[in-house]
């Protein structure tokens, strides 16, 4: 042993040092995640399976009561209210994410074609609105869309809305608010994808008998797909759980899942029901992410699209 120069005890000291090193680097992050993610989630999970007490607080015994209520079964039999809220959330997420893609795609492309020194300024212009508080911006939209405002009058004279109704409050106002709010989250990843693109590839596609439309579809679009999927995740997940925008712009009929959950906790109404709603959102989000991964893999030609 003496000949090897490294004694077993020295080697094990090295391993100890390494595992200590690991402990010091991983511990802060792990502690953070355990305290602020694992424990609260476990608590939420527990609450969802408890019984609602007199002041809306959870009580024993364990039951599936909250999930039954969430599914619409109440004292007066089944009502579709919660189902509508869920469907409305999904619909709003789908429509607003789709609209964000439609609006952001040309913006991102346009910025990528600008001169190099203008690009940071253009990107800044996209991002700057989000430096203002979301609540204040949403109040701004209330003022723009309320009955009697020029926009509402225009929509009224074109016959889109009934007289004196205004564009706000409505589901339309919520969609608009969501699109406006999440636009930068789509523009930035798309821009990153466009910027990496070699414009010579578009010319190469045309040189290889692709019409401009097919050149876009076969040479450009697939290469922006990672950016697009990243943008969709960044927009769709927060949009699905959005609270402020439907609360302010939606009125009574524009409620989304986020509002349902918030109301159960805030008003002291029903913690277990709120927890069950939160879990439902979590599950829906995971299903959505999983689906995106599958789509990304298929469209990316088996290439891993990191989300």
């Amino acid at each position: 042993m003496a000949y090897t120069g490294v004694t077993p005890s020295a080697r094990s000291r090295g391993m100890v040092r390494e595992s200590r090193h690991l402990l010091f680097t991983v511990a802060p992050g792990a502690t953070w995640i355990v305290i602020f993610l694992v424990l609260p989630s476990a608590y939420l999970m527990g609450v969802a399976f408890m019984t609602n007490g007199p002041y809306g607080l959870p009580e024993m015994p364990l039951s599936l009561e909250s999930f039954r209520r969430l599914a619409g079964f109440g004292f007066l039999g089944w009502s579709p209210g919660n189902l509508y809220t869920l469907l409305r959330s999904l619909w709003q997420t789908l429509v607003s994410t789709g609209l964000v893609v439609v609006v952001a795609y040309p913006i991102a492309y346009y910025i990528s074609t600008c001169r190099a020194r203008w690009r940071p300024i253009m990107l800044l212009l996209v991002v700057v609105p989000s430096w203002t508080n979301q609540v204040i911006r949403t109040f701004g939209w209330m003022n723009l869309l309320a009955p009697g405002t020029p926009l509402s009058n225009l929509a009224e004279s074109l016959g889109f809305i009934a007289p004196n109704m205004g564009l706000y409050p409505s589901n339309f106002a919520v969609t608009l608010g969501l699109v406006y709010n999440f636009l930068p989250f789509m523009v930035l990843p798309l821009y990153a994808a466009f910027e990496k693109l070699d414009t010579a590839q578009v010319e190469a596609a045309q040189d290889l008998f692709a019409s401009p439309v097919r050149a876009f579809w076969h040479a450009v679009f697939p290469q922006t797909l990672p950016g697009l999927l990243a943008g969709i995740v960044l927009v769709a997940i927060p949009a699905f759980g959005m609270y402020v925008i439907p609360e302010l712009l939606g009125g009574g009929k524009g409620m989304m899942l986020g509002n349902l959950v918030a109301n159960q906790f805030a008003g002291g109404a029903n913690w277990p029901l709120g927890a069950a709603g939160a879990i439902l959102m979590l599950i829906a989000t995971f299903v959505g992410l999983f689906a995106m991964r599958r789509i990304g893999k298929r469209l990316g030609g088996g290439e891993e699209v990191v989300i």
């Binding site: 070699d198 010579a200 590839q201 010319e203 190469a204 596609a205 045309q206 040189d207 290889l208 008998f209 692709a210 019409s211 401009p212 097919r214 050149a215 076969h218 040479a219 697939p222 290469q223 797909l225 990316g300 030609g301 290439e303």
Partner: protein
């Protein structure tokens, strides 16, 4: 032309956009290119092409040579249809294609950056043009296999582009264009990104491919050595104007003006101060030329000079002092002082005496090697 890429002589007529020459024709007969009065301007001040008239013969390896900004790439892009000429006409194989968009031209390009599609495999890159033309997957597959074998990269077809070396990418880019069997192949400085060794290897390969296929190649480069090695004919461009068109020897040995001479690597240019028949007076002294032409500049090519030791009297003998010698093994490059003028000479190393720096020598040049040209 028995040596075509595809074995099938006939193609289904439905697979091609209307109005194009058939594939069989394209491989059997190479196409000519005619350019008449091509003008192109960028913005208000930049003139890229200022009236280009040029005819490229079928099956020719034709090179557009010039410094950056001379218009050579613009001309190539106009041939590809990626740029539209402001004025002038363009015909390939006798058919006017001035207004035909790029995707409807039977012309393919090897791009300087290769422009391979990173989201597609090598196989999908090679099949791209055939797919866009609507060829069935089975026939595409056969053609791709054939071309991959032709360029000896058959084992790479399932790789991704980012798994290829520079030389492999270059060859895939070439194959992606060739697989379509175009009337004309355009090459935009295709070797400029490669290191010297690989570059000369691929020059030879490219030349062999062209000779085997008999296809019309239009090659763009700023490297006069490369142009001379590869080309049947060279067009030297400057400021959007063609300066000279001719075979490499003619362009190198008989440049028509000082620009072409300097671009081909000649430095020994001397204004003729007096002329008496074949007797030309320059700052070097008096020299006799044979059929030198009426230009006002005398060109002396370094490799036509001989250096004799000491002072030797005789016709076209000039006394000189060696001020610099670069020994290159196969030859030596000299810088000589003749009065206030300097002269470059190249001497082959054939076991003879190679003068040293400081030696007094006599420069000798044959009258038939002297050429005059205009500024």
């Amino acid at each position: 032309m028995s040596d075509t890429i595809a074995t099938e002589a006939t193609e289904s007529p439905g697979a091609r956009p209307a109005g194009e020459t058939t594939q069989a024709e394209a491989t059997r007969e190479a196409s000519s290119i005619e350019m008449k009065g091509l003008h192109k301007r960028f913005g208000r001040d930049t003139v890229a092409l200022d009236g280009v008239d040029l005819t490229i013969e079928p099956g020719e390896f034709f090179t557009l040579l010039g410094p950056s900004g001379c218009g050579k790439t613009t001309l190539l892009r106009i041939l590809a249809g990626l740029e539209e000429a402001d004025d002038g006409r363009l015909a390939i194989g006798g058919r006017d294609i001035t207004e035909v968009p790029p995707h409807k031209r039977s012309v393919n390009t090897v791009f300087q950056s290769y422009a391979l599609f990173p989201h597609l495999s090598v196989r999908e890159n090679l099949a791209f043009g055939l797919k866009m033309r609507g060829m069935s997957p089975a026939r595409r597959e056969a053609r791709v296999a054939k071309i991959a074998e032709f360029i000896q990269l058959g084992d790479l077809v399932d790789r991704r582009i980012d798994q290829l070396s520079g030389g492999q990418r270059q060859r895939i880019a070439l194959a992606r264009a060739l697989v379509n069997e175009p009337d004309v192949l355009l090459l935009d400085e295709p070797l400029s990104a490669l290191d010297a060794g690989l570059r000369s290897q691929l020059q030879v390969e490219l030349l062999r491919v062209q000779k085997r296929l008999g296809m019309t190649f239009v090659f763009v480069t700023h490297d006069q050595q490369e142009a001379m090695v590869m080309s049947d004919r060279i067009a030297v461009l400057n400021g959007g104007v063609i300066q000279q068109v001719g075979p490499p020897r003619q362009v190198y040995e008989h440049p028509v003006n000082a620009f072409v001479a300097r671009f081909m690597g000649h430095d020994n240019l001397y204004p003729i101060t007096a002329r008496d028949g074949d007797r030309l007076t320059t700052s070097l002294g008096e020299l006799t030329a044979e059929e030198a032409g009426q230009g006002e500049l005398l060109l002396i090519r370094p490799e036509t000079l001989d250096l004799l030791p000491g002072e030797v009297a005789g016709e076209n003998h000039l006394p000189a002092v060696v001020s610099e010698r670069l020994y290159r093994g196969s030859h030596a490059e000299y810088r000589l002082e003749i009065g206030a003028s300097t002269l470059q000479a190249t001497l082959n190393n054939r076991g003879r005496h190679l003068p040293e720096v400081g030696d007094r020598v006599t420069v000798s040049v044959a009258p038939e090697d002297l050429v005059t040209l205009s500024e």
